[in-house]
C-alpha cells in the first residue's frame, strides 16, 4: 500500500515538471537519440502494443530509397473529405472556384517562394514540396494550406506545418508542435487576403 502510494505520488510529482525533470530536458530530443540506437520500434521508452510494434517495424523496414516512412491514413480527413463531397463543397461553381478567392490568392502569394507540390483550386488545397535549408540538411518541412470558406473569415483557412528529422537515412516526423508558427502563417494569409479584398473594392 505504502509502496503504491509513494510510487504514484512520485509519478505525479515528476509529471508536474512538464518540461522535464529538474534540468529542463527535452524528452522528444532524447527519444530521437535513442531511436537512432535502438530503432524507433525497439526503443524501450516508447510504448507500443503488440500490433502497433508490428506495424512500426514493418514501416521502418519499408522506408524506401528516400527513407520516407509515410504518415498513416487519417480517418478524420477522409471523413471530412466525404462530408465536403456530400455537401457539394467539391463541386465547381459557375463562377469558378468554390472557395474565397482572396484567401486563395493570399495563400498562393505567401507560398510563392517555395516549390509547390499540390495546387487544388477546387478543393482549396495547397501543399509545398519538402523544404530544406543548407544549414540543416537533416531537417525538412512542408506547408499545407486549406482554404475552407467562400467568405473572407478568420476561420476560413487552415495552415499545417509538418517537419521531419533524418535518422539513419530514414525520415521521421519530428513530433514537435508548430502551433505558433501555423498561427502566424494563418494571420499572414488573412492579412494579405484583407489587402487583396480592399484593393478589389477600390478598383
Amino acid at each position: 500500500m505504502i509502496k503504491s502510494a509513494v510510487t504514484l505520488l512520485l509519478i505525479f510529482f515528476i509529471q508536474s515538471c512538464s518540461q522535464g525533470l529538474f534540468f529542463g530536458g527535452d524528452i522528444e530530443k532524447n527519444m530521437a537519440e535513442m531511436d537512432k540506437i535502438h530503432g524507433k520500434c525497439n526503443n524501450p521508452y516508447r510504448t507500443f502494443n503488440k500490433a502497433q510494434k508490428k506495424i512500426c517495424e514493418d514501416k521502418e523496414r519499408a522506408a524506401g530509397a528516400d527513407g520516407v516512412i509515410d504518415e498513416p491514413i487519417n480517418l478524420t480527413e477522409l471523413i471530412e473529405n466525404y462530408k465536403n463531397f456530400r455537401d457539394g463543397n467539391f463541386n465547381t461553381t459557375s463562377g469558378g472556384i468554390a472557395i474565397n478567392e482572396n484567401l486563395w490568392g493570399a495563400s498562393l502569394i505567401l507560398l510563392d517562394q517555395y516549390p509547390l507540390d499540390i495546387v487544388d483550386s477546387q478543393g482549396g488545397f495547397i501543399s509545398t514540396s519538402w523544404i530544406t535549408e543548407k544549414d540543416t540538411p537533416n531537417l525538412r518541412c512542408l506547408i499545407k494550406v486549406n482554404v475552407t470558406s467562400k467568405e473572407l473569415i478568420s476561420s476560413g483557412v487552415n495552415v499545417k506545418l509538418l517537419c521531419q528529422e533524418k535518422e539513419l537515412e530514414a525520415w521521421y516526423k519530428d513530433g514537435i508542435s508548430y502551433d505558433e508558427e501555423e498561427k502566424r502563417l494563418t494571420l499572414k494569409i488573412l492579412d494579405i487576403a484583407d489587402k487583396l479584398s480592399t484593393t478589389e473594392k477600390l478598383s
Binding site: 515528476i14 509529471q15 524528452i27 532524447n30 500490433a51 508490428k54 480517418l75 478524420t76 477522409l78 466525404y82
Partner: protein, 323 residues
C-alpha cells in the same frame, strides 16, 4: 493502398460517422507473408507458411493547455495464430512537453540488458526453437502507470504495476493471492560516444532483476551489448525447477549496406538456476522494395538446453508490407 482508402470511405459513409473538430483518428496496417523452415517440432512437418495482417486505429487529441491524449486499438491475425484478435484499448497516454504518462495496462522493464534477437516477427514467433532456460518475470504487465521523462540528456522511465492480474480494470493493491505489484526504473544516458541504459525491476511475487546495455557506432554500424541478471521463482514457471538467478548476455550489430539494405546479427547466451544454458545466434537481411514493401531473409540458430526437438536452425523468408 487505394483500395484501403476506398474501403474506409465506404465504411465512413455507411455508418454515418461524425467527427470531433479537434481529434484525429488514424489507421495504419501491415501484412506479412513468410515461408518458414523451422526446427521441426511441429507435428506433421518442418515447413510452414505464415500469413498475418494487422490494422491499428489510433485516436488522439490535444487540450487547449497542450496536453496530448491518445489511445489505440488494433485488430490482428497473428502469423502463427488462427483467430483474429483485438489488441490494445486498455491504456491511455498523456503527453506534455517533457513527459509521457501511460495509465492502464503497462509493462515493467524486467529484461533490461537482455539483447540479442534481430529476426523478424514470423520467425521470432514461429521458429519452433524453444530454449529450456528461464528468463523474464512470469508476469510483467498489468494495471498501473508508466512515466517517461527527461533529465538533461538522460531519459528516465518508471513503471508501476499495481495489479498484474488485471489490465484495464481491477483492484488497486489487491490482497488476492497472485495479484502482485511490480515496479521498474531505468535510465538511459549518453556517455561519450556511447549510450548506456541501466535498469532494475522488482515484483511482489519475489522476482527481481537488474541489467545494463551499452550502444554505440562501430565500423559503420550500431553495436549493442547487454547483460541482465534476473532472480526468478520456480513456482508457475514451466522452465524452472529451482528458485534462483538467471543470467543473459547478448550483443547485436546492425549495419546499412545501402539506402535500402540492412544486415543485422545477434547473439544471446543465457543460463538459469537449473544450470540450463542455451545460445541463440541470429542473422537478418532486409531490403526495402519501395511502396511499403520489404523482403527479408532471417536465420536463427539455437543450441544448448532446449525443449524436445527444438534446437537447430530455422530459416524465414518473406515479405512485409506497410500500409
Amino acid at each position: 493502398m487505394k483500395k484501403l482508402i476506398i474501403a474506409l470511405s465506404a465504411i465512413a459513409a455507411a455508418v454515418g460517422f461524425t467527427t470531433s473538430a479537434h481529434a484525429d483518428i488514424s489507421v495504419a496496417g501491415s501484412s506479412n507473408v513468410a515461408y518458414l523452415s523451422t526446427s521441426g517440432n511441429t507435428t506433421g512437418g518442418d515447413e510452414e507458411l505464415a500469413v498475418g495482417n494487422t490494422v491499428d486505429f489510433s485516436m488522439s487529441t490535444t487540450t487547449s493547455g497542450g496536453i496530448g491524449i491518445s489511445s489505440s486499438m488494433s485488430l490482428s491475425l497473428d502469423y502463427d495464430g488462427t483467430a483474429t484478435a483485438v489488441d490494445g484499448g486498455n491504456a491511455v497516454t498523456f503527453t506534455t512537453g517533457g513527459s509521457t504518462i501511460v495509465v492502464g495496462d503497462v509493462e515493467i522493464s524486467d529484461t533490461i540488458g537482455a539483447v540479442g534477437g534481430v529476426v523478424n516477427g514470423p520467425l521470432d514467433d514461429a521458429s519452433d526453437l524453444v530454449s529450456s532456460v528461464a528468463s523474464g518475470f512470469l508476469d510483467d504487465d498489468g494495471l498501473g502507470a508508466e512515466l517517461t521523462t527527461a533529465m538533461g540528456a538522460a531519459s528516465i522511465n518508471i513503471s508501476f504495476v499495481s495489479n498484474d492480474d488485471s489490465d484495464n480494470f481491477g483492484i488497486l493493491n489487491s490482497s488476492v493471492s497472485g495479484a502482485n505489484a511490480a515496479t521498474s526504473a531505468s535510465i538511459t544516458m549518453p556517455m561519450g560516444a556511447y549510450s548506456v541504459t541501466i535498469g532494475v525491476a522488482d515484483s511482489d511475487s519475489g522476482e527481481s532483476s537488474s541489467g545494463a546495455s551499452a550502444s554505440g557506432t562501430f565500423g559503420g554500424g550500431t553495436a549493442t551489448i547487454g547483460y541482465s541478471n534476473q532472480t526468478l521463482i520456480a513456482t508457475g514457471n514451466d522452465y524452472l525447477a529451482t528458485d534462483g538467478d538467471s543470467e543473459v548476455i547478448g550483443a547485436t550489430y546492425v549495419m546499412s549496406m545501402d539506402a535500402d539494405t540492412t544486415i543485422s546479427v545477434g547473439y544471446q547466451n543465457k543460463k538459469d538456476a537449473d544450470s540450463h544454458s542455451s545460445t541463440q545466434t541470429d542473422l537478418s537481411v532486409e531490403r526495402a522494395m519501395g511502396g511499403g514493401a520489404t523482403v527479408y531473409l532471417d536465420i536463427r540458430n539455437l543450441s544448448g538446453d532446449t525443449s524436445s526437438n527444438a534446437d537447430g536452425t530455422a530459416i524465414g523468408f518473406g515479405t512485409s508490407v506497410a500500409f
